[in-house]
C-alpha cells in the first residue's frame, strides 16, 4: 500500500510538472508546423509568467493575470513573426533575442515595480488559479483504488492544467481535421504550393505564431499563478527548452507531444523524489543525471537511434516569393 501511495503521489506531481511543458510544447507545435522555428518559447513563457504575476498582484484577479500573460506573449510572438516572416530574418537568431529580452526585462521591471529582488508580491485567493475539485471527488475519496485514482490523481488540479490536457485533442483536431490546420501544415512543408493556391503564406504563419503566443502565455500563467504564488526570477528554468525537446521527441505530433511531456515531467518528479536516496537494482543515481536525462534522450533521438525526427520541411527557411 505504501508503494501504491508513493506511486499516486509521484504521478500526481508528474501531472503538475508536465503542464507547463505541455502548453509550451503545443505552442511550439503550431509555429513549427507552419515552418517558423521557435526557440523563444522559454522567453515568451517567462515574460508571460511575469506579466501574470504582476497583473494579478496589482488587480487581485487571476483572470487579469491570464489576460496580461497572453497579451505579452502574443506581442513577443509577433516580434518573432515580424523579424522572421516579414523581414525574413534568421528565426533562430530572433528566438535567441527574445529569450534574452525576456530574461533581462522581467528582472529589471520586477525590481523597479515591486522592489522584492525580482519577485512579484506573493499572491493568494482570487489572484491565483487554485485547485478544482472534480464532481464526486469528495464522495469517492473513500473508495479504494478508484478513489485514489480519481480523487487524488485526477481531481484537484488547476483550471489551466485541465485546459492544457484538453488542448491536446483540440490541437489534433485543428491540425488534422480543419482547413486551417491543413493549410498550416502545408505551409510548413511547401509554402510555394500554398502560395500558388492563392493563400497568403505570411498571414498563415502569423496566425500560427499568434497561437504560439497564446499558449506560451497560458504556460507562463500556470507557472506564476498555479504552481507558484507569484513570479520568481528566472522561474522557467529551461522548461522552454525541455518543451522544445519534447516537441522533437514527439516528432511534431500532438498526442505524442503529450506523452513526451508526461515522460519528462515524470523524470522531473522522480528525480525530486529519489534525491539523496538510492534505487533498487541501480543504486545511487546522481540527481544531475536525472536532470540531464531529457536532454540526453533528445540528442539520442535526434541522432536517429530511436526512430528519426523529421522536422517540417520548410522549417527555418523564410519564404521568398518568386519574382
Amino acid at each position: 500500500m505504501e508503494f501504491f501511495n508513493t506511486l499516486i503521489f509521484l504521478l500526481d506531481s508528474t501531472i503538475r510538472l508536465s503542464v507547463p511543458l505541455l502548453l509550451a510544447a503545443l505552442a511550439g507545435l503550431y509555429a513549427e508546423r507552419s515552418g517558423v522555428f521557435d526557440i523563444g518559447l522559454e522567453g515568451k513563457m517567462l515574460a508571460g509568467a511575469f506579466a501574470a504575476g504582476a497583473a494579478a498582484a496589482i488587480s487581485g484577479s487571476a483572470w487579469a493575470g491570464l489576460l496580461a500573460a497572453v497579451g505579452i506573449a502574443v506581442f513577443l510572438s509577433l516580434v518573432h513573426g515580424f523579424a522572421s516572416i516579414t523581414h525574413r530574418g534568421n528565426q533562430i537568431v530572433s528566438g535567441v533575442a527574445i529569450n534574452f529580452i525576456a530574461a533581462g526585462s522581467t528582472i529589471i521591471l520586477g525590481q523597479a515595480w515591486f522592489a522584492q529582488g525580482g519577485r512579484t508580491p506573493s499572491l493568494g485567493g482570487d489572484a491565483r488559479f487554485g485547485s478544482i475539485q472534480l464532481p464526486f471527488a469528495e464522495a469517492l475519496s473513500g473508495v479504494p483504488l478508484v478513489g485514489d485514482l480519481y480523487s487524488d490523481l485526477l481531481s484537484g488540479h488547476s483550471l489551466i492544467a485541465y485546459i492544457a490536457f484538453l488542448l491536446v485533442p483540440f490541437t489534433w483536431w485543428v491540425l488534422f481535421r480543419t482547413r486551417f490546420g491543413l493549410r498550416l501544415r502545408a505551409v510548413g512543408e511547401n509554402p510555394a504550393a500554398v502560395d500558388t493556391a492563392g493563400i497568403s503564406v505570411a498571414w498563415l504563419r502569423y496566425r500560427a505564431v499568434i497561437c504560439t503566443g497564446v499558449l506560451t502565455g497560458l504556460a507562463g500563467t500556470y507557472l506564476a499563478l498555479s504552481q507558484n504564488a507569484g513570479f520568481v526570477k528566472d522561474m522557467t528554468a529551461g522548461r522552454g527548452f525541455i518543451a522544445l525537446a519534447a516537441l522533437i521527441f514527439a516528432k511534431w505530433r500532438p498526442v505524442p507531444v503529450m506523452f513526451a511531456c508526461l515522460l519528462f515531467g515524470f523524470l522531473d518528479a522522480f528525480s525530486i523524489r529519489v534525491q539523496g536516496t538510492g534505487l533498487p537494482l541501480i543504486g545511487h543515481v546522481p540527481v544531475q543525471f536525472m536532470q540531464a536525462l531529457p536532454y540526453i534522450l533528445t540528442v539520442v533521438l535526434l541522432a536517429g537511434f530511436i526512430g528519426r525526427a523529421e522536422p517540417p520541411r520548410a522549417g527555418g527557411i523564410p519564404y521568398v516569393k518568386e519574382r
Partner: protein, 379 residues
C-alpha cells in the same frame, strides 16, 4: 533566383547599416530605462564613465572583453560555415574543466609559462570535444545543430555540477569548487600594460589571456580568409550545394569548423579560471557564451568587427556594474536586455532598414544603384 536585396556600397553595407541597427537597439534600451523611471542619458553617462573613466575600470572592461572575443570568434567561425553554434556556453564550461585539470596537475611542478601552453591545449581540446558530438551528428545524421548544442549546454551544466560537487571539491570543503591553484597555475596580470600608458590600476583581473584573445582573432582572420580550409568553410557557408559540387567533403568541413569553434569557446575559460579566480567554480561562464552570439552578429563575423564589439560589451558589463550602484533600479540584468536587443536588431532584423536606405541611395545617386542592379541581374 535573384538575391532578395540589391547591393549597396561597401561602406554602407558594413558601416552604416550596422550602425543604424545598433542605434535603434540602444534607443529601445533607453525606452526601457525610461519605463522604470530613470533618465536614459544620465544612465549612459554613468555607464560609460564607469567603464572607461579610470584605469581601474578600463582594466575590468578589457577583462570582460577578453572572454567575449573568444566566444564571439567561436560563434563567427561557425557562422562562416552556415552553422549556428549556440553551444558556446557549454563548450566554455567544459573548457574550464580542461584548464582546471591541467592547472591542478602541473601547478606545483611547473612555472606558469610552462603550464600556460598546456592549459591552452587543455581548454581547446575539452571545448572542441564538447562540440564534436553535435558536429558529427549534424554532419552524418542530419540532427539540427542548434537543438543539439542547446541540449549540450544543459548536459554540460549538469555534468559540471556533478563533477564539482562529487569529484573535484577538496575533502572538507563546502563550496562546490576546486582548490585554489598554486602559482604555477596562475596567469600574470597585465595591469603594467595599462600603467605603461599612464593609467593607474590598483588591482584588476585583467590578465595575459587578453593578448591570447587578440592573437586568436588574428589567427581566425588568417584561417578564414587566407587558407584553403577557410575558403572551403566559406564556400559551404554560402551554398552547401556548391561546396558539395566542388568536392568539399561536408562531414569533414562541418566537423573541423565545429572543432575550431568549440576550441575557441573552450579557450574563453582561461580568462576567468586561470587568469582571475584561480579555481574552477560553478557557473563561471555566466552567460559569456551567449554574449558571443551578439558579439559575432554585431561584428559581422569578422575579427576586425568582433574585437571592438567585444570591447563594447565589456564596457556594458563593467559600466553596468557601476550603474547598479548609482541607480538602484538598474542592475546588471539591463545588459541582458541590451544583448537581446542587439541580437534582434543587428541579427534577426538586419534587413529592416535596408529597403529604406536603398531608396535613399537610389534617389541620391540613381546611377550607382542601377549599375549594381544590372550586375546583380547578370550574376
Amino acid at each position: 533566383m535573384s538575391a532578395p536585396y540589391a547591393k549597396l556600397p561597401a561602406w554602407a553595407d558594413y558601416g552604416l547599416i550596422p550602425l543604424i541597427n545598433l542605434t535603434v537597439a540602444f534607443i529601445v534600451a533607453g525606452l526601457v530605462v525610461l519605463l522604470i523611471g530613470e533618465n536614459p542619458l544620465r544612465a549612459a553617462v554613468i555607464l560609460i564613465d564607469g567603464a572607461v573613466g579610470r584605469g581601474q575600470s578600463i582594466a575590468y572592461t578589457l577583462y570582460y572583453a577578453t572572454s567575449f572575443i573568444f566566444t564571439g570568434l567561436a560563434v563567427a567561425v561557425a557562422f562562416h560555415c552556415g552553422l549556428f553554434n549556440i553551444g558556446g556556453e557549454g563548450q566554455a564550461y567544459i573548457g574550464g574543466l580542461g584548464v582546471a585539470l591541467v592547472c591542478l596537475t602541473f601547478d606545483s611542478i611547473l612555472p606558469w609559462w610552462l603550464t600556460f601552453p598546456i592549459a591552452i591545449a587543455g581548454a581547446a581540446l575539452f571545448g572542441a570535444a564538447w562540440a564534436f558530438i553535435p558536429a558529427y551528428l549534424q554532419a552524418r545524421r542530419g540532427s539540427h545543430i542548434v537543438i543539439t548544442t542547446i541540449m549540450f549546454n544543459f548536459i554540460a551544466a549538469s555534468l559540471m555540477v556533478y563533477l564539482l560537487v562529487n569529484v573535484l571539491k577538496p575533502a572538507g570543503s563546502q563550496a562546490p569548487q576546486t582548490r585554489t591553484f598554486l602559482e604555477g597555475g596562475q596567469l600574470p596580470k597585465l595591469n603594467w600594460l595599462l600603467e605603461a600608458l599612464g593609467l593607474s590600476v590598483r588591482s584588476s583581473p585583467f590578465n595575459l589571456s587578453f593578448l591570447l584573445a587578440l592573437l586568436a582573432a588574428f589567427l581566425v582572420w588568417l584561417l578564414i580568409w587566407r587558407t584553403r580550409l577557410g575558403y572551403e568553410i566559406r564556400t559551404r557557408g554560402h551554398s552547401a550545394k556548391a561546396a558539395r559540387y566542388a568536392g568539399v567533403s561536408e562531414t569533414r568541413i562541418i566537423v573541423i569548423t565545429m572543432l575550431v569553434s568549440g576550441a575557441l569557446a573552450g579557450m574563453m575559460a582561461l580568462n576567468p579560471v586561470m587568469g582571475d579566480q584561480n579555481r574552477l567554480a560553478i557557473d563561471f561562464v555566466s552567460g559569456a557564451g551567449f554574449v558571443g552570439i551578439a558579439v559575432a552578429l554585431m561584428g559581422r563575423s569578422h575579427p576586425a568587427g568582433i574585437v571592438p564589439a567585444a570591447i563594447l560589451f565589456g564596457i556594458l558589463y563593467q559600466g553596468g556594474a557601476e550603474l547598479a550602484f548609482e541607480m538602484p533600479g538598474i542592475s546588471r540584468d539591463m545588459i541582458v536586455i541590451i544583448q537581446g536587443l542587439v541580437i534582434l536588431f543587428a541579427g534577426a532584423l538586419e534587413h529592416m532598414f535596408r529597403p529604406g536606405i536603398q531608396g535613399l541611395f537610389a534617389s541620391l545617386s540613381p546611377r550607382s544603384i542601377a549599375v549594381e542592379a544590372k550586375q546583380g541581374e547578370r550574376a
